[in-house]
């Protein structure tokens, strides 16, 4: 039996000849069964040396794909780093083709390479010098003007690119990736155009100086790379489950290059994204993440050997008394996270409910202008967030270029504390209106910056306290000659806590911070702060920022964590009862009548029963399968007339040439539960087995049906809304498109033409055909 022969239809199992439609759930068990069957054919058909070579080539495909993905992720990350730094510097001036080798394509750092004092560097031409302004006030004004101009220009270009070429490139992409890895199909979300626009847009958005990060979007970029290379490998591209394994590895590579933290990336992928994966995925993720980190190291975008700007090392340890301020940073992180999510969601809901708002592009202009206006006068906010985070994290003895004056004499003063706290507060407001704009934008770096600003302020307070009261009983263990408190460590712990509060991740944050600092010393305080932060954050609401956006966008993501509250009700209360289902009978249909059923009912599949009175369940046929087979049997060689009899059960007297036997395309062992089963058990079936639908039958008689989407509605408390909609008698498309009016937020899925798997309204005239 060879691949691609007609027999495969039978081999492949029932009802899945046609791929998944957009925004439908995939069937994990079926996909993995398909893969097992493919391997069985491969291993039984290929023997001898050539056979071994074929098997080897087949097994090595995944590794080639992972390495390619890792290399591409490293390359894209390096390019984005370089371009965004260059664009960011353009806001202050440009590199003239000077005698020292200056070239327009150099950023400020490389343009002035070799100068100790940046002010002595003549190759770098500030905009005030370019327009020949010399007075101090004029200089300030001109530079402010160009700063504003470029910030808005970059922001609006990013937004225009997204609007014109790839709407999927907006936001961070993590909620969507989470949904896709959870087993849903969102077509074109990871296409080539998305990759190009997201990368370009990311450079511009970061350079615009808005309060956003590139860390989350890099995950999307890495997944786009994986999706692109996947097309080269048919056996992986043809299996939705294996595709998701590769995407989960690519996500690890994204975080790996974002933080220079391969292990952190693997754990991020496991903790935040993975859904239904076997153990081997961990190793695949690790290889992909490691390749990406090595590639980034080889490109060395910062020419410093560091993978990220804010990598630091600490030479001092911490003292027991510091655990109290560290835990307080945890509390702050939790409060920040909780408030940020609430505020960001409020902004999103308000925008959704306000039709009089200007277009998304004008919104970007407004936020970019506001941010630039506020940023420029504040020393800490004028530079890029990553440079700020580095300065906040760093130990003073390690800092060469004290850009923010955090290490100069007298920095440990009330004035600095007020400035830091003010910057944190302003950052909080700006970040909460920025995350959700129509540009590529992540929330990880802004959260880290806000946490680091607050943490550094607390660190300076501690420093002053220890300095003024060296005899206080808690400070007994401080050695007299060396600094007792390192404010930089408070910044990194504050950043970890804030990140924990916003994303509700735990292990991966600690590991990322561990890899950023490279020492076990600070793992314990970071762990305590992240733990406290998660507890405090959970008191505000169980959902992290990504889950909140999933819920806001009504993505059909069925959370499989065991903390999801599941009502204690029998499933018979919520299933779609047989009276409300459109079911097919095994006999009595013609091609024409089935075509009519398809035309009348939008549902994605139909249960098949023996006859209307008994309703003994025989199987389930999907809409796509039925459509394809009806169409192909009336065309081409067979050319059956519309009045041909079509049946779903054994008909001993039927002539196979003049009738249509649809049994091979029907799933003859659909998964069933008794209707007395609890919702908890049913939800377990969906979560653990990765099903698309479950049929309910008592003693073989069909009682009802429940789809993954239905369970999602129930678990998300949207049951009431759904019933209301259904009773309107309006056709009920899938959860993704129900509220089609809001082109703004929902434009993401405009391409979706698919419809719901099941009937939910009860207004069907012919419940049993």
């Amino acid at each position: 039996m060879k691949d691609g022969s007609a027999l495969d239809w039978y081999v492949e199992g029932p009802g899945r000849r046609v791929g998944y439609e957009d925004s439908t759930a995939i069937d994990w068990i079926f996909e993995y069964t398909k893969e097992r069957q493919r391997l069985r054919v491969l291993y039984s058909s290929s023997t001898g040396v050539l056979g071994y070579v074929r098997q080897f080539l087949d097994a090595s495909q995944i590794w080639i794909l992972l390495i390619l993905t890792g290399l591409a992720s490293g390359l894209f990350a390096a390019a984005i780093d370089v371009v965004s730094v260059w664009l960011g510097d353009i806001k202050t001036g440009y590199c003239s083709n000077g005698p020292d080798g200056g070239q327009f394509y150099l950023n400020r750092h490389f343009c002035c390479f070799g100068y100790d004092e940046l002010s002595q560097c003549q190759d770098w031409v500030s905009w005030s010098r370019a327009v020949h302004i010399t007075s101090a006030g004029g200089k300030w004004f001109i530079e402010y003007f160009f700063f504003l101009l470029f910030s808005v220009l970059f922001g609006v270009t990013a937004s225009l690119l997204v609007k014109e070429y790839a709407l999927y490139a907006k936001h961070s992409g993590i909620p969507e990736i989470k949904t896709i890895l959870g087993g849903f199909v969102i077509r074109r979300f990871m296409g080539t155009w998305t990759l190009v626009i997201k990368s370009l847009g990311l450079c511009l958005a970061v350079a615009s100086g808005m309060w956003l990060g590139k860390e989350g979007p890099l995950v999307h970029v890495a997944c786009c790379c994986a999706n692109l290379f996947m097309k080269l490998f048919g056996s992986i591209n043809g299996n939705e489950a294996r595709k998701r394994e590769v995407l989960s590895a690519a996500a690890a590579a994204g975080i790996s290059v974002a933080f220079g933290s391969p292990i952190g990336g693997v754990l991020f992928s496991l903790e935040q994204l993975s859904y239904y994966f076997p153990d081997k995925t961990m190793w695949q993720s690790f290889v992909c993440a490691m390749t990406a980190a090595v590639a980034l190291q080889a490109f060395d975008p910062f020419r410093s050997g560091n993978l990220v700007l804010y990598q630091v090392t600490y030479s001092t340890g911490w003292h027991d008394f510091e655990l109290i301020p560290f835990a307080m940073l945890g509390i702050f992180g939790g409060i920040y996270g909780g408030l940020f999510i609430k505020m960001n969601m409020k902004v999103a809901q308000w925008k959704k409910a306000a039709p009089w708002l200007p277009t998304p592009i004008v919104q970007v202009v407004f936020v970019a202008l506001l941010t630039a206006l506020v940023n420029y006068p504040n020393m800490y906010m004028r530079a890029q967030s990553s440079a700020l985070v580095y300065s906040l994290f760093a130990e003073c003895s390690e800092v060469l270029d004290d850009q923010f004056g955090l290490c100069k004499m007298g920095a440990a003063s009330g004035g600095t504390i007020v400035l830091l706290l003010f910057a944190a507060l302003v950052g909080f407001f700006l970040a909460s209106i920025t995350f959700g704009l129509q540009i590529p934008a992540g929330i990880i770096l802004p959260s880290m910056a806000i946490g680091a600003l607050f943490g550094r302020a607390v660190g300076i307070i501690m420093e002053i306290w220890v300095h003024n009261h060296p005899k206080f009983f808690a400070f007994q263990n401080c050695e007299p000659d060396i600094p007792c408190v390192t404010p930089g460590t408070y910044a990194i712990i504050g950043a970890a806590a804030a990140l924990g509060g916003v994303t509700r991740m735990t292990v991966s944050i600690v590991v990322i911070m561990f890899e950023l600092t490279g020492a076990l010393t600070y793992v314990l305080p970071i762990m305590i702060a992240v733990m406290v932060s998660k507890w405090v954050g959970d008191a505000f609401g169980k959902r992290g920022i990504y889950e909140s956006w999933i819920q806001f966008n009504e993505y059909p993501f069925l959370d499989n964590s065991d903390e999801t509250p599941i009502p204690d009700i029998p499933v018979s209360q919520i299933m779609t009862r047989i009276e409300d289902l459109v079911v097919l009978t095994a006999t009595g249909h013609t091609i024409e009548s089935l075509v009519n059923v398809l035309a009348t009912h939008p549902y994605r599949g139909f249960p098949v029963v023996s006859d209307p009175r008994e309703a003994v369940l025989l199987g389930y046929i999907s809409r796509a399968e039925l459509q394809y087979n009806l169409h192909s049997s009336t065309q081409g060689p067979r050319s059956l007339p519309p009045e041909t009899e079509a049946f779903f059960s054994h008909q001993p007297l039927a002539d196979p040439r003049t009738t249509l036997d649809l049994r091979p395309w029907m799933d003859q062992t659909p998964i069933t539960l008794p209707s007395r089963a609890s919702l908890l058990l049913t939800a377990n079936y969906f979560q653990k087995l990765g099903l698309r639908y479950v049929l309910f039958s008592d003693r073989g008689v069909l009682q009802g049906l429940l789809t993954k989407e239905d369970v999602w509605y129930v678990l998300n408390g949207a049951e009431e809304t759904r019933r209301t909609n259904a009773n309107d008698g309006t056709e009920l498309p899938s959860g993704l498109t129900r509220e089609g009016a809001d082109g703004e937020e929902r434009g993401l899925l405009n391409g979706n033409e698919g419809e719901d798997l099941t009937p939910i309204q009860g207004d069907s005239d012919i419940p049993i055909l």
Copy 2:
């Protein structure tokens, strides 16, 4: 409704009032449902401030337990480190109560603290000096004699302790822990006595100098600690699923203290042990592993600040040409692993099949004596493995006390290479007869030592080659003045590869090595070597050493990796058909007849059907439940006579005071599949949903039954054996005790009195009662 009231029987759900018997499978879904119900009662019953306090206390229990477990694991690891080093030194002499403060309880290092040359240290009295021998030959002989004496003494004491007090303390314990975490009950495996004996025995076994390690057994020790503390927390101890979550965290703590690698421990637990766990387990493991590492650091057993003896740092990088020898080390590691598993299993099978072999204790004496005889003359093998591994790993510039002469002038010679390779070979043979003896013994450290010996040899070869042919084209990138090749890095890569070959782990090994060396530099070569090693090892056989022992011991561990080959057959071919099942009818039974059924049939549960002709499935009642209820209804307040009618269906006319309604104790929605379902789908049910048994029914009529053990037999190819046994007409107890004759290897489960859940033989006289 209060906890512990009689009503709980009904609340708790059917059929699980009585706990699991020994060596039965647990029902994960039921356990998690029970936990959800417990929480629902807790959260609905407790309101107000006091309620919040109760909820907080309930939620914090798990964290207190994890922290206690972490602290205890750190303490035990430190104690085992200190005692085993002291005992190991006793083999060469003792610390006299000298003028410099020497005390008998000091090991050689601390006894001679302050001396640069150990030979100058007078407090340490070698045995030759103790018995006043001065001639060189006599000294050598006496010291050899005492070395042998103590080695055998330590070995035999460890073995005696294990035999007399806790047989479960033998071996590494990881296969058993894997089986337990996979959902099986092995009573007393983690009891207090096991903890005490395993810890003591481990010190003695390590000190005996045999080729074994303490890393694996430390996982068992940590799990014992967790099990001990768990008894303090009723809500956790009462739930088999939550118990397993804690044990999985404890296993992470075990590896964390074994290697000073908390993240490696978490990944080890995820990769090697975890089975059916929600995401939150990762964070719990992390907290437990981190606490353990911090506790170990606080105890600082080596007074060096390092958590393990063989922690190293490298100051140099690697060159591209070295990737070829690194990959060769990977090949070696895979071959070593494959051969080791084959050899070790052959030895175990041979021992099992040879009844004339001496008792386990004599075997230990023999191996200990042989090891000591071989070890003493070989410089590399005389010391403890951990000291050897440190010397092999270390960069020469870092080594202070060059115990093995690996850094002295002329060490890079053919002689050293031969000695190293010889030690590796001898170590291989000794380790393969040692792992499986009746003492606490792990395989991780010996594998690392063998890999490191081989790796160091390869490193020295490379060093000589570069030294002799500096102009060779591959060596162009070497800088002239500094050493181009660091043999220590070859040792660590060899160790990683050997460990990968034996255990088939990947991510966790790389992370453990990363944490041992503390730098990203060598992660890429280690990753490549581990990957190659796994590929080569898998060519010898898919099972790692732990899985091989699980199979050898016939533990009912149902592997849930998707690489398990599952035959493509319908489940109807292997299920126990209804004709061979002992089923109960809903009516027509009395208490006496049911007692008779229990007395006649050993099965662990009985399906309940409507009546013999129709066999419509009504539910399933477990043996334990039936037994308990029949017993309690004939005793105490009810005291029903034996002729009382007992039924499993609604009897409207029955008087509840004079009849026994067993419905509340029957599982009324047992999980069913159609008998046409494939074995693959059925196996998925067991693996993903964690079930104990599945019933098969077509249109409500019971067709057959399959238990987790049955599936295990089929997947392990033991189906044939089983059928043969069954046809003998012998009673068929569970897989764990079928071959009860081999008290040696199977003594582990001697306590098992439980019997199989299902009937497997077909010689039942009354198939339907």
